[in-house]
């Protein structure tokens, strides 16, 4: 028997050799993966959950894991010893399936209203020409004849030619009696001949639009001849193992070799998704001739391998905001060797290309007389207010409470998460689980519903404390303090009670307070009040299932007419797509970045004031939320949203 065995961890596709009998939690830690264990390996907290996908282990049974779950292959890493070669999945980072059907249709339904234009005008073009054969009277060179013809047919002049292509030119032109397809790419102000093929071309002309998030990366392959999306893939950013938020990654990058590691992980993430997307679309990587990336400032820096350190330190200056074009091959992206990468420009350290690109996928820039607020809320929330004439933006660190972090019962919006909650008139609690199975916990929208319901019912007070009398049988007191029982262990996926503790409530209130106070300070800086807003556009995964009414009740969103709120879906990806689609959008996004006014909340003296005021349900100043005050008076809001 071999002494050392191989363990592979998914979805990170990393691992190593370990001695037989090694504790699996120790192995996870050695591999540098971010799996937490609150109980210190005693097998009681259930946090170090893994799923054994293949191989042999020895595992002790634990009360924290019911039999039916164990039967599905789940185990607690701390209670497991490695017996043989293993493939282990960390469910916390489980591949997220894109829930297209539940996504926003805003992008599709509002094509004519969006700031970016829907026109196929990419910066790589395919031009079919018939190059006339050389004659004794016109003995111009092959290149010259091709240049003339391309200019005549498409009005494009190209001066530069890749040497690789030049070498094939004579043969390519003669092969089909002069009938060729020239592929031109714009770089800087001019065009370059990047490929020449006989007619009909064997390759399709495609591009990659990619949203590089701190947590999730989404790739979309687009046919650049008609603008159609051919395939979409999404997955976790493999940098997650180096820290879950941007600050942790900046901190991580400070040691020698680490920046290169982060760069390689980002590229590996994109390449893996790209390969899958190409496979689904039946394409080869060679078909991808243009790349459009949208990511926050730190992600863009890390992908390019730029030192992100100064993003975080006063006065918060990135190396680049408007990123020059770079060759995809220089970064290690597995696309056509000639493809260029266009990164959406950043405005500042904490407002990046995901936001500038995102604006293209909103109607904000179309309006001159309306003023809108754009909220891209995730762990880091970014806000933009303005219209065609002016834009102001700021970032706020909201914390991960609505994305499953920082709360005991929280989950990302994955299968098994409760995404909607409602209280019936009799006081009963109903909920809807993603995927329809037994619940594992609550995702952001479910938490918002729960908090709003408990507040309107009077089960929690304005400061977030539970009223024991009103909580009745659902009141729980244990090592985590006082809490509200959402579901009994017997009916949950993990066999553990799902409890919303008072600590969780405090965290949720802090998060919603951070978002709301940043919105209100941003508006104050401009000299606006909420009621002057004509629309509020919400983007990001967080907003997907958010119930606006409940979000207002807890004071996360301002108390405005409900029809002013619109959910837009993944605007960063939408923007990356638009930039890929048309050069006009690329010019627009650079212009937008130039005119956005960036407000640094870190240095804003009034922020603490606003924030502290927001640490109540819905707010210290109840006058800001008249509809919530009415609902509290009548307690009529008990019905809540329809979750059927």
């Amino acid at each position: 028997m071999k002494k050392s065995v191989q363990v592979e961890f998914l979805p990170f596709r990393t691992g190593g050799a370990f001695a037989r009998g090694t504790n699996l939690l120790d192995a996870v830690k050695k591999a540098g993966l971010p799996l937490k264990s609150a109980c210190g390996g005693k097998g009681t907290c259930g946090e170090c959950l893994v799923r054994i996908m293949g191989g042999k282990v020895k595992t002790r049974t634990s009360a924290a894991l019911p039999k039916e779950v164990r039967d599905l292959g789940y185990a607690l890493a701390c209670q497991t010893e490695i017996e043989d070669d293993l493939t282990v999945e960390l469910p916390k980072f489980e591949e997220q399936s894109i829930r297209g059907e539940a996504g926003s249709r805003f992008f599709e339904d509002n094509r004519d209203r969006l700031s970016g234009v829907f026109e196929v005008n990419p910066s790589v073009r395919k031009i079919q020409v018939l190059v006339p054969p050389a004659t004794l009277s016109d003995n111009s060179s092959d290149l010259r004849r091709l240049q003339r013809k391309v200019q005549k047919e498409a009005g494009l002049r190209f001066a530069r030619v890749e040497i690789r292509i030049l070498k094939r030119m004579a043969a390519a032109i003669r092969e089909q009696a002069g009938s060729v397809t020239a592929v031109l790419a714009r770089s800087g102000s001019g065009w370059t001949l990047v490929d020449i093929e006989p007619f009909p071309p064997s390759k399709r002309l495609c591009g990659l639009a990619c949203d590089i998030g701190t947590t999730t990366v989404v790739c979309e392959i687009v046919d650049l001849e008609n603008g159609r999306v051919l395939s979409t893939t999404a997955g976790f950013n493999q940098q997650l193992r180096c820290g879950e938020d941007v600050i942790s990654r900046i901190e991580y990058s400070r040691r020698p070799g680490r920046l290169e590691e982060l760069q390689a992980l980002a590229v590996r993430t994109v390449n893996a998704l790209l390969e899958k997307a190409c496979r689904e679309a039946g394409l080869s990587n060679e078909n991808i001739l243009d790349v459009s990336l949208a990511g926050n400032t730190t992600m863009t820096h890390l992908l390019l391998g730029l030192d992100p350190r100064f993003i975080r330190e006063e006065p918060y200056t990135p190396t680049v905001n408007i990123v020059p074009e770079v060759k995809a091959a220089d970064l290690g992206l597995k696309v056509n060797a000639e493809a260029l990468v266009h990164c959406a420009p950043a405005v500042g350290s904490y407002v990046g290309g995901d936001i500038t690109a995102g604006l293209l996928a909103t109607p904000i820039l179309r309006d001159a007389d309306k003023t809108s607020l754009f909220i891209d809320a995730g762990t880091n929330g970014e806000l933009v207010v303005g219209n065609r004439d002016w834009l102001a933006t700021c970032a706020c660190s909201a914390g991960p409470a609505f994305e499953g972090g920082g709360t005991k019962c929280g989950l990302p919006a994955i299968e098994g998460a409760i995404e909607a909650v409602r209280f019936s008139r009799s006081g009963g609690l109903e909920y809807r689980v993603i995927g329809g199975g037994k619940p594992k916990g609550l995702c952001g929208s479910g938490l918002v519903d729960l908090l709003a319901g408990l507040f309107i019912q009077g089960t929690i007070d304005r400061g977030g404390r539970l009223n024991p009398d009103r909580a009745g049988k659902r009141l729980v007191r244990n090592g985590d303090g006082t809490g509200f029982l959402v579901e009994r262990g017997a009916r949950t996926f993990w066999g553990r009670d799902i409890v919303l503790t008072e600590k969780d409530i405090v965290n949720l209130i802090r998060t919603k307070g951070a978002v709301f106070s940043a919105c209100s300070l941003l508006l104050k800086n401009i000299g606006l009040t909420f009621n002057r807003l004509d629309a509020v556009y919400i983007a990001g995964g967080f907003g997907q299932h958010l119930d606006v009414e409940n979000a207002i009740r807890i004071g996360l969103l301002p108390d405005l007419e409900r029809e002013k709120f619109h959910y837009l879906g993944n605007t960063s990806l939408g923007g990356a797509y638009l930039i890929l689609l048309s050069e006009r959008n690329r010019e627009l996004v650079n212009a937008v970045a130039g005119k956005m006014t960036y407000i640094e909340l870190n240095t804003e003296p009034g922020y603490m004031n606003e924030y502290t005021g927001s640490l109540f349900l819905p707010h210290t100043d109840a006058g800001l939320f008249p509809s919530v005050a009415r609902a509290l008076e009548t307690r009529k809001g008990l019905g809540g949203r329809d979750i059927s």
Binding site: S248, R312, E314, S397, N525, G527, G594, P605
Partner: protein, 445 residues
Amino acid sequence: MALSGLDIFKLLPKTNCGDCGVPTCMAFAMKIAQKKAELSSCPHASEEAKAALGAASEPPVRQVKIGPGSGWEVGGETVLFRHEKTFFHPAGIGLEIRTSWSEEEIRECVRQVEGFQVDRVGEVLKVNLFFITHDSREKSAFLKAVSLIKENSSKGLIIDCPDEDALKEGLELLRSDRPAVFLRRSLTEGDIQTAKAFGSSLVITAASLQDLADQAEKAKKAGLSDLILNSPGDGLGAAVQNNAILRRSALKKGFKPFGFPLFTRIAGEDGTETLAASAALLCKYASIIILPRFDRALLYALFTLRQNIYTDPQKPIQVDPKIYGIGDPNPGSPVFVTTNFSLTYFIVSGEIENSGTSAHLVVCDTEGQSVLTAWAGGKFVPEKIAKFIKDIKLEEKVKTRKIVIPGFVAQISGELEEKLPGWEVIVGCQEAADIPSFVKSVKLV
């Protein structure tokens, strides 16, 4: 009326050229609105913009200076409530001196006032003004009082002198001292001339709010802008109400005749009543409060109240970065590390106290930021913490070689240990509230 950033933006060229030193026109407009920049920095501003902004940039409440040198400034406020932004210029507290008093009595009062100051949270608090009431028949007594105060004090003077000749002679003595003249009756052409001639400001008194507005308008038309309003009406209730009306009209309605500092004189013998009245008016917009006599207890209370009201609520309050002893620590007691945001300090020190453990609390300089904010901003990071611990020579002051860091920055523990050879870093709890149970469960020394 102050213009908002958006209002100002509409007057700018909207080219985002950056010639003003700020990246965008909107950023520049916001700076102007916050009075951190002036329109003159924009080389492309139109005449129309200059005219519109000129009128709007006049402060809603004028700032008036009384006294020699840097003097004491009052007014200049922009909000009705402190929490909306901050109050800028603490009310001037003054003592009344009567010319009917004997020279000895006057000297004694000046001596007491000059000798009294309170040191409170790093600030020195003092009386700021004298108010002379000329109630003797002798011109000489008035002039004597003026020169006595001038010789023995550098505080500003407000003069109530019905004898116009005496007043002029007195003002002659105070030529470069920027005194204020208190008028018992309606403003006359002569008052305006005198004020202009001697560079003094005027405290105007009226029978009604309407009358006050008319007089202020008159003075302004004559080119006098250093005015102080003595609010009409008898009794504390009326004074508070009128002050509120005056300030609200100036700030919310942009009513220019009321856009001046407010004057209050407290009368009466009863100490408690005097305190109640002065405290109420200090809260409700009095820019100058004159007290009838020297009273340490009363002044101490007013100083404290004034300092609290006029402290900028937007600035994070910091504590001094150093080692604090919590309870009764000895060199063998455990060491906790945190940031110098005052709330953080108070909560952490309070919970250590609650735990019943005596400990050393090392408070690092994070410019007043809390733990996670400071960490995110690179101010509470291993190199800086290690440097601070070396600078304060912690290893000479304690026997233990373990330090406890906040649980929220668990990720820095490894690097901190590398930067602090010989020290063991213990990751503490995330919330201060859990310190009492934390100290029981972990061996800290």
